[in-house]
């Protein structure tokens, strides 16, 4: 079948103005949107800029807006779209560098600001630190994050206020805060307790809807708000 892709274009070197280009091509229902972008780039316009690597939803390179919502290009099939008119745009709230490529640095800055690493200053045991399957389960959901930014850039709070650390950073703080082996929960919570921490979240839920890893993002944020309000992690 034929599908039409209307793609957002911006080339900093040639035109100062953003615009949309339309491409029409043959597609199978089981083609990924990423496959279509690859084919357009290969056969119609080599200058089209977008990121990709793994092509099956595990590396987090290709978060874009497809028909008005954030998705991974490699995880949406043509048959899932339920339309043959596809609008492709870069994710919102990060500066567009070229076409669908956005500047990810502000996103990673937020990520780095929440101490997204394991802290335990006790001398390690000879073998593993023990952890029961239940304790492991407590933070399983948030270990799945691939830092694709689909959540943060779907959040209206982040759009209007780039200082908000955003759902992705909170998810990654959650992963450690609720890890029974970690010792820096208090510091991370203190960071999230600040003006641009969890209180910028108004449970809008776009983030959870956008997450390609099906992480319960809003729930993770809620658990942190609750931990702060209660002053306890249980």
């Amino acid at each position: 079948m034929q599908v039409t892709l209307k793609i957002f274009r911006y080339n900093p070197e040639e035109d100062r103005k953003k615009h949309y280009d339309t491409f029409t091509l043959e597609a199978e229902p089981t083609d990924r949107v990423l496959d279509l972008l690859e084919r357009i780039k290969g056969n119609q316009d080599g200058t089209l800029g977008f990121r990709r690597a793994c092509a099956h939803g595990v590396c987090g390179s290709d978060a874009i807006r497809i028909n008005g919502v954030n998705r991974l290009a490699c995880k949406v099939l043509v048959q899932d779209l339920k339309t043959r008119q596809v609008v492709i745009e870069p994710i919102l709230g990060l500066p567009v560098e070229k076409d669908l490529i956005v500047d990810m640095e502000p996103f990673f800055d937020h990520y780095r600001s929440v101490m997204p690493y394991f802290v335990n200053d006790d001398p390690p045991p000879a073998k593993e630190r023990l952890q029961s399957p239940e304790e492991r389960e407590r933070f399983d959901d948030t270990t799945k994050c691939i830092l694709c930014a689909a959540c943060t850039t779907s959040c209206p709070s982040f759009w209007v206020n780039g200082k908000y650390v955003g759902p992705s950073a909170i998810v990654n703080a959650h992963r450690f805060i609720f890890d029974s082996r970690d010792q820096a929960a208090a510091e991370r919570l203190e960071i999230l307790n600040e003006q641009f921490g969890v209180y910028r979240c108004h449970t809008i839920f776009n983030c959870t809807d956008a997450c390609p890893r099906d992480i319960q993002v809003t729930q993770a944020i809620g658990e942190i708000k609750k931990a702060l309000a209660k002053g306890s992690l249980d």
Binding site: T47, C54, V58
Partner: protein, 596 residues
């Protein structure tokens, strides 16, 4: 143009690169250069597990692990390195755990382990639980954990910098040349030691589990600088990729009891590997599938098999096999067990083929997966450049790009992730040690000249040839003739074809003439790397007149230890490929017939 100076520069931010950087940065100023954001590296795609004889649920020993690896390698692996890796494995896994890696857990709180192909109890020959896992996202957790620790230790990253050239002056490493993708600007890195950790090159083949980014940049970089590539004919085809797409279905599925079923509804692996059946090593299973399909026993006569992990089928065969839990009770699974242990696999199948593995079988076919060959190194990650294993001072390689060789002719599942952390660590330590005792080598006067010249050749080409066409011709000829089964004429044809493509590449079309994020240009460059690698692979394969591990020939069906128990070394010289051979290092395992 910008200049930078670091004692150690690591190229690649996957499992190998990050481990190397973590260790090197303890003792030397270190920078990591990567064409992708570190967390996009392909290590994140690894699913099933990392091998280490922890013995958490049943008896196991590093010696058994070493023997299984030697046997899996079809005796082509260097045994000193294999013994070293198996022994280091246990500490390496504990070290990852201490860095916070969230492994799945046993009820007693220890790291959970599952069986994997080719890993056996050396006394009974039965599968052993050796693969330490975090659900089916082990690689993801390793990559994330290492990146997190790099942030904690303030490792310096140059993200989205594409390395174009390695600077070697008078046989010594001087640094490298990279392009900043965001601006197109050239950067010169002066370094005392360079560690190459750029991963594999599965994009040479049609159906592959590998990322778009798996274009063999590291090996191509080395080849162009007169460094040989070792054992390139040994490329692993994983038996279970999703039909047509190639997306990997981890061996862990079979570890949890999944079985391969042919078009007649039979579990065909019983015939090919009577003891371990579906948990034989990958070369054996891929070949068996190929033979079954050739005999018309694919599903509906098509070129795929069913991989069935529905609880009924798992329990049925577990009963037949008499498989037991560690506590001695019979092994049985429920739908929720499958869901808990293989969540991502289920997600892939539902997203891409609309199949729920808990209720229906998955259509699978062999998929290009892993490069056993690569840049030759010794067990400290030092690059060795000839038959006598002479070290090139200051150059290191680790991970899939390197050939230590611990995987020989066929890698066992879980050993790649292990390879990353063990040899990543030692190359990092060795590189820092080297940097501490050596001075910087002076850069050549025009360091970026060679890279610029190649780039300009692409930029200014006539533009007659479409990149996609060239790539797909290469992929199909390689899949057809240098795939699971190989014969003389086919491989000769492939060599011919690849050389033709190499010529035609000179006319490749690049639409984008800008400098910011010119991915078009980079992709052309990557394609040239792939073509070089395809050539070296095909030539190395054509020369090896035996069947061993992943290299299996219809015209020479047997292993020939008398003539071919040796590593291939291939140089790119004078527009062609020159081959030489070097012996395999043996310690205590003498080659035996291989059966599972």
């Amino acid at each position: 143009m910008q200049k930078h100076q670091y004692e150690v520069v690591v190229v690649g931010a996957g499992g190998a690169g990050l481990t190397a950087a973590l260790y090197a940065s303890r003792n030397a100023s270190t920078a990591v250069i990567s064409k992708l954001y570190p967390t996009r590296s392909h290590t994140g795609a690894a699913q099933g597990g990392i091998g280490a004889a922890l013995g958490n649920t049943e008896e196991d020993h590093p010696e058994w692990h070493a023997f299984d690896t030697v046997k899996g390698s079809d005796y082509l692996g260097d045994q000193d390195a294999i013994e070293f890796m198996a022994a280091e494995a246990v500490d390496a896994v504990y070290e990852l755990e201490h860095m916070g890696l969230p492994f799945s857990r046993n009820p007693d709180g220890t790291i959970a382990q599952r069986p994997f192909g080719g890993h056996t109890n050396n006394e009974t020959g039965k599968p052993v639980r050796r693969a330490c896992y975090a659900a089916d996202r082990t690689g993801h957790m390793i990559l994330q954990t290492l990146y997190q620790q790099s942030i904690k230790n303030q490792v310096k990253f140059f993200d989205e910098f594409y390395v174009l050239d390695l600077l070697i002056v008078d046989g010594k490493t001087a640094g490298l040349v990279a392009m900043e993708l965001a601006t197109g600007e050239m950067h010169i890195f002066q370094a005392k030691a360079v560690i190459i950790a750029t991963g594999g090159h599965g994009r040479v083949w049609e159906t592959t589990s590998n990322a778009y980014s798996y274009t063999g940049d590291g090996v191509a970089l080395a080849l162009r600088k007169g460094i040989p590539a070792e054992d390139m004919e040994f490329y692993q085809f994983h038996p279970t990729g999703i039909y047509k797409m190639g997306i990997l279905i981890t061996e862990g599925v079979r570890g949890e009891g999944g079985v391969l079923i042919n078009g007649e509804g039979n579990r065909f692996m019983e015939t090919y590997a009577p003891t371990v059946k579906d948990l034989a090593s990958r070369d054996v299973i891929s070949r068996a599938m190929y033979l079954e399909m050739k005999a018309g026993r694919g599903i509906n006569g098509k070129r795929f098999m069913n991989l069935d992990v529905t609880p009924e089928v798992v329990n049925h065969y577990a009963e037949i096999d008499g498989r037991k839990n560690p506590d001695g009770s019979p092994y049985r699974v429920t739908a929720s067990d499958i869901l808990a242990k293989l969540p991502d696999i289920i997600d892939f199948c539902e997203t891409y083929i609309g199949v729920n593995p808990v209720t229906d079988p998955m259509p699978v076919q062999p998929t290009a997966h892993y490069a056993m060959g690569g840049i030759p190194t010794n067990k400290y990650g030092e690059v060795v450049v000839d038959e006598k294993n002479t070290v090139l001072p200051g150059l290191y390689a680790a991970g899939e790009v390197a050939c230590v060789s611990v995987h020989g002719a066929n890698r066992l599942g879980t050993n790649a992730l292990l390879d990353l952390v063990v040899f990543g660590k030692y190359s990092g330590l060795k590189a820092a040690e080297f940097a501490n005792s050596e001075a910087y080598v002076d850069l050549p006067p025009d360091p970026e000249a060679y890279a610029m010249q190649q780039l300009n050749a692409i930029r200014n080409s006539s533009g007659k040839e479409n990149m996609i066409t060239l790539a797909s011709e290469m992929k199909s000829v390689m899949a057809e003739h240098v795939g699971v089964f190989r014969v003389e004429e086919g491989m000769a044809e492939a060599v011919e074809k690849v050389r033709e493509l190499k010529e035609r590449f000179k006319d490749v079309r690049v639409d984008d003439h800008g400098s910011k994020y010119n991915m078009n240009l980079i992709e052309a460059w990557e394609l040239s790397n792939l073509i070089d690698i395809a050539e070296v692979t095909a030539v190395s394969a054509l020369a090896r007149k035996e069947s061993r591990g992943a290299h299996s020939r219809d015209d020479y069906p047997d292993r020939d230890d008398d003539n071919w128990l040796k590593h291939t070394l291939a140089w790119m010289e004078n527009g062609g490929v020159r081959l030489a051979y070097k012996p395999v290092t043996m310690t205590k395992y003498t080659p035996k017939a291989r059966s599972y």
